[in-house]
């Protein structure tokens, strides 16, 4: 973890123990900053979910759009079934 140098870069400037302590403090500060950054994004409060409650925010919000997507998926992927629409992967249904 610690990247303290045992040999001081400039001889006679600061004793190695102080340098080690300083580098440790720096590491701790970086960790604290990273921790604080994680707190910046807070989830919406229960009363702030007005836009999230709109019908277009749901998975099947628009029935016609959903049907179109299923049709294309069934035609291209040969993976229809389970949605109430049959398909053979020929792109013709």
């Amino acid at each position: 973890m610690s990247t303290a140098h045992d040999q001081p870069l400039v001889a006679g400037s600061t004793p190695p123990t102080t340098r080690r302590a300083l580098s440790r403090l720096g590491l701790a500060l970086i960790a604290a900053a990273a921790g604080l950054g994680g707190c910046a994004m807070s989830p919406p409060q229960p009363w702030e979910k007005g836009n999230l409650a709109l019908p277009e925010m749901t998975m099947g919000g628009d029935a016609l759009d959903q049907r179109f997507i299923q049709h294309i998926y069934g035609s291209k992927e040969a993976a229809s079934g389970g949605y109430g629409v049959g398909g053979g992967g020929c792109g013709c249904n």
Binding site: T3, R24, C39
Partner: protein, 168 residues
Amino acid sequence: MKTTPRSLLRLTALCLAVLAAPASWALDAGAPAPDLNLPGLKDAVTLAQMKGKVVYVDFWASWCGPCKQSFPFMNELQSKYGAQGLTVLAVNLDAKRADADKFLGEVPAQFTVAFDATGDSAKRFDVKGMPSSYVIGRDGKVAAVHKGFREQDRKDIESRIVETLGTP
């Protein structure tokens, strides 16, 4: 490379302190209710002016389905227990006032309505879901907290209100 146990301990303590800071305390039964001072349909609405009464505070929004379901129930409560000293206060938390007005045009409300677009009151009441309701006793303390609304919740909420109306 040297990592002393003490430096690790210090780092852990720091991280814990940072993580624990935003946690808030829940508003539970028995705690004094925070005051409200909000604009109503005509005059300002405060909890202080309802002192000595049992207040049923309900937080709602126009986009919330269960809130719509709860309105006939709150009308019923107000007409049934109003004479015994119950005040139903519904605090709207819509960001846009127009949404609330449209809702009130569709769903009649025969009780006190207040508006808080900032959501500050909800924060102080520690609202955990929509709708949330609080029964506040005559002593100004929270007697019961209820989260959400379903038709089968009527009986439970009503019994808590009757119980609170019976206590001085």
